[in-house]
Each structure stands twice: as structure tokens, then as C-alpha cells.
């Protein structure tokens, strides 16, 4: 009897933690999303789908969705393009390529808050690094983080800088999996460098590209730290990405019902994206085998 229970003892701690801190919270969020509560009142009246209606009727939600999608759409090509380019230069196992990989990878294990703080200085209007250089060459002093059009770009640059190393590492793994014969064959056909890249490299790293693309999109939907530290969603909502809006509604305005409704919507969006990702990884594994 006890022998039969053994595996359950082994999995029990993990299952308890997962249940309490991951699965039950989904139900709690669903429940809170149909109620009205601000932490202060003793009861939380049921309001049906009102919170969802309010959210869908608010300009804030659509602005936030727009900003998040814009962030994803602008940052994905930047990240993947740069990463593939750099990865294809660093594919050889030389000392300098190893060092450079290390340099590019460093930011992705560095504290995001530190990065955000450092780049707040880099893009500071006065005494900032970028403006010092621009001023030197006579290009003025743009107010990067106070300008509704530029601020999102700054966040995209910072996020790209942070994530690039990860993308490069994955691309290198993908590129190294391409058999050398294929390159040789293309070269024999008299292919130019770009031709080889377009005909051989690009299609063969496509699965890796899909994988990174979805990862990047999922990440865009979860960006919070750099927004919270650098812009707090401003100026004028220009960087008010979805998780930041969730934080604002939940922990600044304490509209727990509406905040939970937003959490549920985001959850559905992200699980959808994740399912898409696992299908692609499935096809990738298949492809490599």
C-alpha cells in the first residue's frame, strides 16, 4: 500500500505549490473579475460582466493594447534581424567570437532594473550619453523619455539590447545545425554570399525564427519592469503596456474587479500564443529529426 503511494509523496510538494500559487489564482482571478472591490469594503458585490464591458469601452485598454502590439511589431524585426546578422558572424568557434557572444549575452542575465536605470541616464535629456553625442555633432537634445513619439522607441531599444544575446545564442544553435554540405552545394552553384544566405540560411533557420518570434511576442505582452522604472506608462500613455496598465488598475487605483478582468484577458491572449508556440516547437523538433 505504502509503496503505491511513494510517487505521490515525491510529487506532492510541487503539486501543492503549483496548485496554491498558479492554478487556484486563475480561478480567483476569474471570480474577482465579476465583482466590484477596492480592498476596503467588507463585501464584494457580483457585477456580472460589467468589468469586462468597462474595460472594452475604455480608451485606456485599447491604447494599451495598441502600444503593446506596436512594441511587438517594431521590436521583433529589430531583434531578430540584428540577432541573425550577428549570429551568422559569430558562428565560428574562435576566441573572439566566444568573447563577443559573452558580451552580447551579458545583458540578458543582468538586473532589468539596473538596465532600466542605466538607460534612463543614457537617454536623459541633460547630461545623458546619447544627447551628449548628438549635441557634439550638432543634432540638438531630443527629450527621449518625455516625448510621446520617442519614448516607446527608447523602451524598444532597451528591451532589444537586453534580449539580443538570448536570440543570438538560439540562432547560433540553429545555424550550427545546418549541414555544411548545403552551404558547399550552394557555393558550388556559384552562389554569392547574399544568395547563399537567402537560399540556404534563411529558409533553414525558419523554425528558429518562428520560435524566437513567438517568444518575443509573448515577452512584449509581459514587459513591465522597464516601463515601471523608466516611464511609468507615460508620457501621456505612450508606453502604457498591458501589464503596466494591470498594475495601475490593480495597485494604484485598486479597482480589483477591472484589474482581474484585464488579467483574465491577458491570460487568454498569452495562453493562445503559447499554444501556438508549442505547435511550432513540435514542428521544429520534427524538422530536425
Amino acid at each position: 500500500m505504502l509503496r503505491k503511494l511513494t510517487p505521490y509523496f515525491f510529487v506532492a510538494p510541487l503539486m501543492i505549490f503549483i496548485a496554491v500559487f498558479t492554478y487556484v489564482p486563475i480561478l480567483t482571478s476569474l471570480n474577482l473579475s465579476v465583482r466590484q472591490w477596492n480592498f476596503l469594503t467588507p463585501d464584494m458585490p457580483f457585477v456580472g460582466l460589467h468589468n469586462y464591458e468597462e474595460l472594452f469601452a475604455s480608451a485606456e485598454f485599447w491604447n494599451s493594447l495598441k502600444v503593446t502590439v506596436l512594441f511587438a511589431v517594431l521590436s521583433v524585426p529589430l531583434r531578430l534581424g540584428a540577432a541573425l546578422f550577428i549570429a551568422s558572424r559569430l558562428i565560428r568557434e574562435t576566441l573572439s567570437s566566444r568573447l563577443l557572444r559573452g558580451a552580447f549575452f551579458l545583458p540578458s542575465v543582468t538586473s532589468t532594473v539596473s538596465i532600466a536605470v542605466v538607460f534612463s541616464w543614457v537617454f536623459a535629456t541633460d547630461y545623458g550619453m546619447v544627447n551628449a553625442i548628438l549635441h557634439l555633432v550638432g543634432l540638438g537634445r531630443p527629450q527621449w523619455l518625455q516625448d510621446p513619439y520617442l519614448a516607446l522607441w527608447v523602451l524598444i531599444i532597451v528591451n532589444t539590447w537586453r534580449q539580443l544575446g538570448y536570440d543570438i545564442v538560439i540562432y547560433i544553435a540553429g545555424l550550427q545545425a545546418i549541414p555544411q554540405e548545403l552551404y558547399d552545394a550552394a557555393a558550388v552553384d556559384g552562389g554569392q554570399r547574399f544568395h547563399v544566405f537567402r537560399r540556404v540560411t534563411l529558409p533553414l533557420v525558419m523554425p528558429t525564427t518562428y520560435f524566437l518570434l513567438i517568444i518575443a511576442v509573448i515577452e512584449a505582452f509581459q514587459v513591465f519592469t522597464i516601463v515601471n522604472v523608466m516611464t511609468r506608462g507615460g508620457p501621456a500613455g505612450a508606453t502604457d503596456m498591458l501589464v503596466n496598465l494591470l498594475y495601475e488598475i490593480g495597485f494604484e487605483l485598486f479597482d480589483i474587479g477591472r484589474g482581474s478582468a484585464l488579467a483574465v484577458i491577458l491570460f487568454v491572449l498569452l495562453v493562445g500564443l503559447a499554444l501556438l508556440k508549442s505547435r511550432i516547437i513540435g514542428s521544429k523538433v520534427h524538422y530536425e529529426a
Binding site: 480608451a59 535629456t125 541633460d126 510621446p148 501621456a236 500613455g237 505612450a238 487605483l253
Partner: protein, 419 residues
Amino acid sequence: MIRKLHSTIAASAFALFAAVGTAEAATTVKFWHTFSKTNGEALNKIIASFEAAHPDIHVEAEFVGNYNDLVAKLQAGIPARRTPDAVILEITRYGLFANNNVLTDLTPYFAADPLKDDLYDYAREIGVINGKNYVVPFNSSTPVLYVNKDIFARAGLSADTPLKTFDDVLKAAKTIQDKLGAEGISGIGAPGQFARWGLVMSNDSELIDPKTNKILLDKPNTIEAYQWMASLVSQHKVASPDGVTDEDKGNAMFMAGKVGIDMDSTGSYGGRKKALGDNLLVRPMPCNKVCSVPIGGAGIGIMASSPKEVQDAAYTFVSYAASPEANAAWFAATGYLPINKKSAALPVAVKALESQPGIDVAINSLPYAHGRARATFVTWMRTTEYKVWQSIALGQRKADEALKDFAEQTRKESQRTGN
């Protein structure tokens, strides 16, 4: 190596837990506040002298952030029961807590306290909702208009340049911007939320009617005032957007001598005086259509959840903080208004009035100073207003549209909270 690391971690964890458990003498009053730097030092002195006079009470003070941060932390703390015993509450934002029974009704304490006869009427009034006293005033203020004398002189403006109407202020700001903009100096600081409220009032309007709680955010005069404020940033470019996205940064710019004119609470007088010395000049707020300024600042409330003996100890502190000695010292160090009728006669206050020119500007504006609405939804309104202001000031939305939407949202919120 790893094992050693583990035992080090375990040891330090143990030390930390042990430190938490140490016994403390008598009653401890946990007090959350919003004062740092110059004002924080002044508060710490008041607490020290209170503790010297009441050795059985220990005030454990913690600086939380600005008024907005504090309200958020308090609200977040309710379900977690992590709240202080006494708390500084900005006078338009405590309705939320008073109306949800989070704050103790201080009426019985207050009725038995001789202090009530010593407070000025304007100060006593701010602590009352529906006839009940929830906070005792501590730091009262009105906005004033600060001028950097040196910048004025360099721009060729005399110290008594008229600054009565919006046009006057704009003209002076433009002169500074034209003459000194190339040196990185701005004509005027983007008005903070307290100053914005004041400018709306000087344009003969209000955000919320203090008597009826009617929402006036979309009244033509309110819109006009916002249009003017926004034009400083987006149209005339005499104010830097730095102060729009972060009020504190705007203040810092003035302190660093990079802004000619800045409108803010008289409570920042002490810090500004320290930073600018004799270059600081204080003028009254503009009277564009009428002379009217908001009464701001905060009082101290006591949490309903604290045990009775702690509440008693907390009230002893609250009452002391409004006493003539404490209030006179506070006034002299910070520039906040005297709230106690007996403070002004004390030597420290007399000296401040003599030696710190401009500290009396706010006092002189009291005849036309008015209390503001403090309904439950005002907290929500003020938290949300920052975003609305940013969108107008940075030219993302037209003032009339943005404010009409904002007024609608606020009306909904006021219905929701039952006010």
C-alpha cells in the same frame, strides 16, 4: 564551499529574525508620512522632542513617498493588515478611508482636547467629513508662485514684474525663455497637480464643487485654465516636459536654478530657500479672473484597526504635532502655514517671519483660500488626473475633449462609490 555558503545564509537569516523579536518599551506608534529632505528633518525634530516629553511613547516614523504613494500603500495594506497606527493624509484624499471605516472618528478625542480652540477655523475645517473629525491638521498650505530672482535679473525682468494674470505670467516666462533658453534655462516649471488646481480656481472655476461634490472638470473655465497651462509646454515651449512626466523632477529643476518661475505649495519654501538662498522670491498665485487659492496639505489620521491604547498614544502625538511649539518650529523650517493661533507669537515663528522673506505670502493669501471637496471619489480623480494632464500638456489630446471624457469617467466613479 556551497555548504559554507548555506550556513552563512542560515546564520544571517536567523540573526534577522532574532532582531525582529526584540522587545520594545511602552507603546509604539507606527507613523507613515510623506516628508523627506528638509521637511523630513523638521519632522524628525518634532518627533524627537515629543518623545523626550513622553518617554512612554515611541513614534516609529517611516517616509513612504508622496501623497499619492502613501494613499496607494495604505489601500494596499488594508487586506494585508499591514497598516500604521497614525498616518499623514492629504486633505482631499482621506474621504475614501473615512467613508470605509478605516479611520477612527476622532471627534471624541478632539472634543476633549483644548487644542480645538487654538486651531484656526480654516485648518479645523479640513479634518471634517459629515460633521465628524477624521484628521487633525498638521501641515496646511496654499500654492504660491516662486521666482528665481537671479534669473529674472538676467532676463531683464524686475522683481516686481506683474504676475497677476495668465498673460502676465506667460509674458514673463517668454522673456526668460527667449533670453536664457540657450543656456538650458526654462521660463516656468510645468505646474504640478496642486498648482493646477490653484490655477483652475484663479480662473473662477473648480474641479469639484466643495459643497455639493458636483464634478466641474468640464466647465468652460476649467478647460480654459488647462488649455493655458498646456500651452506653456506644447505651444509656447516655455516649460520643460520634464516636469509634466515627473513633478518631483520639475521641482528639482527649479532648485537647481534652471527655472525662472515655479508654482507650488508653500510647504516647499524651506527646501527652496535652502537651495536658492537670497535668490528665492515668493509671490502670490495669479488672480486671473478671481483671487482664489486652494487649501492643501495634510492632517494626521488614526487607524481604526489599532488597539485602543495605541490610538490613545497616537492621539497624544497628533495633538502635540499641532501644538504651538511644534507648529511654530514646523512653520519656520518648512514654510507650511501656521495652523495654531498661538504659534505666530512664539520666538521661532517671529524670527522666521523677520528673517525669511516670502514665508508669509501664503499666510496673506488665507483670506481668499478655500477648502476643497473630499468625497470618496476624489482619490480616484486625483490619481487619474496625472495621465489626463500629460496627454493635454504633451499635445496628445485637446483639453476640451480630454476633460469632457475625464469628467464622464469621474461621474461614473462617483456613482460607483456611492457619493
